[in-house]
């Protein structure tokens, strides 16, 4: 399987570093084929999923579909490809691992299954970018990912989507975090897309485990994005924070969040803010909190609307022309403090905002 230089160049917009200088490893899949996998640090393993199952039948036995079983949920099994990432016990990566899922063929239905295992005391950053070639039409992407974060493990996972207006996308993921583990998940959806539906679930199974999710959703005319995050706090002293920012330039966004406290002594907070720039924009925020325990701290705040006149005029009173004040507010709005974002992506977001 080959990938052309120009194609690689295109992957840069979703965070792929072609030079791989500051990466702990790389994975690229084009349509259904894995193009390459590389690792640059000992203790970091990246394999095509089929290869991993061949090498380690016990892994397939133990992990494949395990997280879905926990939720009594079915999942599609007709997948082709996907990555297996394992960071061995105690290994801490200096640079992020990068993975890219790329659609090239017209009307292609890309269906993948990934497994990420962060072993005890290991620490890793992963950047996954998903995108399609310019010539692709009417494609579909299904991305199943199962995350397993072992005792005191740490995973910072950033997913960047940059699709096209005729592509349908369905990420499907479940994460299980053991005692003392931390899972930080960042999601950014930048470009027009036909439809994205995703509602990943994280189960904080071990005591003192943590989950933080932040999403930035930019929505354009004729895009439909039903995006959320769910966390099940199923042990003592677990905590979660789910933050989302949705900005609609005419598209439809459903911003969901769900925290379920299945144990006493847990904390959770949901925060959803939506900004409608264009008259045709639509944002529906659905924050849900659920528990049958008394000793829990769950809260949410949601606010959607247009930019407040008062804010623009306040900045104007400092000498900033109104149009500029407005774009400053928009830039500020989607400027979530997300850890480990590549620099150029920040620029990319700024560019998008400045277009308006």
């Amino acid at each position: 399987m080959e990938i052309k230089k120009e194609e690689l160049k295109q992957l840069e917009i979703v965070g792929f570093d072609i030079e791989e200088k500051e990466r702990a490893g790389s994975f690229i899949q084009k349509d259904k084929e894995v193009v390459f996998t590389r690792t640059f640090q000992e203790g970091v393993e990246i394999l095509p999923i089929e290869k991993a199952f061949e090498n380690y039948p016990e892994i397939k036995e133990k992990y494949y579909g395990y997280s879905f079983k926990k939720l009594n949920k079915e999942f599609p099994k007709d997948t082709e490809g996907g990555y297996f990432i394992r960071v061995k016990k105690g290994v801490k990566t200096l640079f992020p691992i990068q993975a890219c899922l790329y659609i090239k063929a017209k009307k292609f239905r890309q269906k993948i299954h990934n497994i990420v295992i962060v072993e005890e005391d290991a620490q890793v950053y992963v950047i996954t970018g998903c995108t399609a070639a310019k010539e692709t039409e009417d494609a579909y992407h299904l991305g199943i990912t199962e995350f397993f974060i072992k005792k005191n493990g740490f995973l910072n996972f950033t997913m960047i989507h940059s699709w096209k207006k005729d592509i349908e996308v369905q990420p499907l993921s479940v994460s299980i975090v053991e005692e003392g583990g931390t899972f930080i998940s960042n999601y950014i959806s930048l470009n027009p897309v036909k439809k994205i539906t995703m509602y990943p679930t994280t189960i904080l199974e071990g005591e003192n485990s943590k989950f933080r999710s932040s999403s930035i959703i930019v929505s354009y005319s004729e895009s439909y994005q039903d995006i959320g995050a769910r966390c099940i706090l199923s042990n003592k002293n677990t905590s979660t924070e789910i933050i989302s920012r949705a900005i609609s330039y005419g598209g439809k966004v459903i911003a969901r969040g769900h925290i379920k406290a299945d144990s006493p002594m847990v904390k959770g907070h949901l925060e959803c803010r939506g900004l409608i720039i264009n008259e045709k924009g639509f944002i529906y925020a659905i924050p849900e909190l659920e528990t049958s325990y008394r000793d829990v701290e769950l809260s949410h705040e949601a606010a959607i609307g247009k930019i407040k006149r008062e804010e623009i005029e306040y900045l104007a009173s400092r000498g900033i022309p109104e149009e500029e004040a407005q774009s400053m507010i928009i830039r500020g709005f989607i400027n979530v403090d997300i850890l480990g974002l590549p620099e150029f992506l920040e620029k990319e977001i700024k560019k998008i905002v400045e277009k308006v």
Binding site: E310, E313, A316, R318, G319, P321, I329, G332, F333
Partner: protein, 236 residues
Amino acid sequence: MLKIENISVKGGDSLILKDISLKINKNETMVIFGPNGSGKSTLLKSIIGISNYKIVKGRIFFNDIDITNLPISERAKIGIGIMFQNPPKIYGIKILQLARYISKNELEIKEIAEKLKVDMLLKRDLNVDLSGGEIKRVELFQILLQRPKLLLLDEPESGVDIENISIIGKVLNEYIKKTSCSALIITHTGYILDYIKGEKGCVIIDGRITCKTDPQTVFDMIKKYGYEKCEECKWR
């Protein structure tokens, strides 16, 4: 410096200010008193151009320029600086970011920030999770960076403890003395008068100016008799 000619101002459908005229010369400070809801803040917001308030009659001149219909940012650029009473919270815009927009002089930013004890707050979002005193200090920090020729101060001491009033009062007085600028100050408690000596005073009741004299006299009378007396005052 500032000349207001017979303005009437509407907020929504109601007429808030009625036939207001006043004049502030260069290097002159005017103190405005008045009960809650009398239209004091509306006057300041009309001078800077806040869109909730429509000037339905009259004109406002700043250094002989008719600013009645000038965009807000232009009014700021020609030298009007306003300290709001309740500034909005703006998420994602840092205080330092705004400061750097206003002033390109890093040293000046640093010096004024230290003087007003806002140096620890520079990386915070604008007006988010700030105490009453911090909000006022941050407001003052911003307008001093603007180097205004006319200060519009909407109750600079409200919701602020004694220590903060002292910081704010001293810094304001120093700025006014040093730059010979003009100021229009709304005060409720009069505490700010311990630091700034105004040349002119006036009382606004029910959208009209009822009294014009020196601020200390006005304040003493209000303390003694309340605002009711202002309505029948001899200077009317």
